[in-house]
């Protein structure tokens, strides 16, 4: 039944496979837009929205809170400086989508509605919310920048698994 479709399918899949293999040279998985490479040794552009105790970004003081510290430490592992942008969640996520930010922190949880607009990391810690239900915490990275995402998630899981704010 699909027999006629198969040679066609094979004909199209093989070049993709070869292209995929050819792309392996630049690290695996790779970033389509080269985020990790650009950030390394340069600047990590982090969006932050006030959500204590995870993030504190009110007033003119430099950003603080657990996730701000984590972002700074992560930037350090890449020899990068942090360039903070303070704003509302929606504005920051839109900037992330537009490629103007590399990371957004704000005490996001696994229930965050932004999963279509941002790559939410795998939960690095789970703490009870106000109702006492366990709530997994995540950060937001650009969609599809998988080398960057994997580096960030590995950093969080290996160095800060189950941290408490």
């Amino acid at each position: 039944m699909a027999r006629t479709a198969r040679p066609l399918l094979t004909g199209l899949l093989v070049p993709v496979a070869l292209a995929a293999l050819a792309g392996c040279s630049g690290g695996f998985p790779a970033d389509p837009d080269g985020t990790l490479e650009r950030v390394t040794g340069d600047v990590l552009r982090v969006g932050i929205t006030d959500n204590p105790p995870w993030t504190e970004a009110a007033g003119g003081a430099p950003p603080g809170g657990l996730e701000a510290e984590l972002a700074t430490e992560f930037a350090g592992t890449l020899d990068a400086e942090v360039d903070w942008t303070v704003g509302s969640e929606e504005v920051l996520i839109r900037d992330l989508e537009a490629g103007e930010l590399d990371l957004v922190v704000g005490g996001f949880t696994g229930r965050s509605p932004w999963s279509k607009q941002a790559a939410l990391t795998t939960p690095y810690t789970t703490v009870p919310d106000e109702q006492g239900k366990p709530e997994p915490h995540v950060m937001a990275a650009p969609l599809g920048e998988n080398a960057f995402l994997v580096r960030l998630e590995t950093f969080l899981l290996q160095n800060h698994r189950d941290v408490l704010p």
């Binding site: 039944m1 399918l9 993709v16 995929a20 998985p29 790559a119 290996q158």
Partner: protein, 345 residues
């Protein structure tokens, strides 16, 4: 009506048709394989769901696995009904349950194929970049693409073996649902390979590879749906009997006519045959030599001669006529070979 039934009795039947040993064995094996397929799919669907993440290609492959439940279930249900004996309310028996099962499976394939084509096509158009991060087992942190690839390899191979085992049984039993099931199973490695390529593509930084692979998987599901819908609808519309793949007219049509024409008192004979599911219903029109009406014994022998050809031919009526009725036999009026290019429609 059914001398063969009366003589042997007690074996496996489709309606009042007693199955020969070969078909009985094939049916038992096919039923075992259908349950085996369902068992395998339960494991496969769970496994793929656990590792699927946000890959479009994995989602398409998962949807196909879910859809793969429909043909074996349809087969089991259809066979259960088809084995019932005809009743006063259902004088033709329950053979059409096969056609219904086939139609349901085809409609499901078509719907899901169309949905997935739109879903993955829009992903491609919107340039969605699928994120695939890490998974962790204890302290081991690894790229989530690897378990996806492993799941695809593990779930990609057994269906091919199941499909290869079912295909000859589908031919033996003349069962279209089983045939569609076997054909989908056999094509499953293509889906698995497509997903693996899509995920390797994501890994290589080619964001479009995943959606493209998903699109090809969806198109193949859609094509399966269209082909099956056409064959299933044709069978329910009483199209002439075709081989189980729907590709060509069934050779039994010509064999029945030849057998009847070979009788000494018959000048010409032509039948119309519809496929009820597993078995055929045959109306044979015979023109006696010299316009002499045949006796009851001659008619009875003619029927026996025809139904001894194949187990599928049991429900057969012989109608003596002065000349072949064109309004009931379009093939008499048609030029020889005119219809042959459009089988199964």
């Amino acid at each position: 009506m059914s001398r063969r039934t009366a003589e042997r009795g007690g074996g496996v039947t489709f309606g009042h048709t007693e199955l020969p040993d070969e078909q009985s064995a094939a049916l038992r094996r096919a039923i075992r394989l259908a349950w085996g397929t369902i068992g395998f799919l339960l494991v496969g669907v769970t496994l793929v769901y656990l590792v699927m993440g946000s890959s479009q290609a994995m989602k398409a492959a998962w949807a196909e696995d879910l859809l793969s439940f429909i043909p074996p279930i349809s087969f089991l249900v259809a066979v259960r009904f088809a084995r019932r004996r005809p009743t006063t309310a259902h004088p033709y028996g329950y053979h059409r349950s096969v056609g219904i099962g086939h139609l349901v499976a085809a409609a499901a394939l078509l719907t899901m194929g169309a949905f997935l084509v739109v879903d993955s096509g829009s992903g491609l158009l919107a340039a969605e970049h699928p994120p695939v991060g890490v998974m962790h087992l204890g302290d081991q942190v690894f790229w989530a693409g690897w378990p996806m690839i492993a799941a695809m390899v593990v779930t990609g191979i057994p269906p091919v073996l199941l499909g290869r085992a079912k295909m000859p049984l589908a031919r033996t039993l003349h069962d279209r649902v089983l045939y569609a099931d076997a054909d989908m199973n056999k094509a499953d490695w293509m889906t698995a390979l497509g997903s693996v390529v899509g995920i390797l593509g994501i890994g290589a930084g080619l964001w479009w590879a995943d959606s493209a692979a998903a699109l090809f998987i969806s198109v193949s599901i859609l094509r399966d749906g269209i082909t099956n819908l056409r064959v299933a609808a044709g069978a329910l519309m009483d199209a002439r009997a075709t081989t189980v793949d729907g590709d060509e007219p069934h050779p039994l049509t010509a064999e029945v006519d030849e057998r009847l024409r070979a009788l000494p008192w018959v000048e010409d004979a032509r039948s119309r045959i519809r496929d009820q599911g597993h078995v055929f219903h045959v109306e044979s029109f015979v023109v006696p030599r010299g316009g002499r009406a045949p006796g009851l014994r001659e008619l009875g022998d003619a029927r026996e001669a025809a139904i001894s050809l194949d187990w599928k031919v049991q429900d057969l009526v012989v109608v003596p006529v002065a000349e072949l009725p064109e309004e009931m036999l379009p093939s008499v009026a048609a030029e020889a070979g005119e219809d042959e290019q459009r089988p199964g429609r």
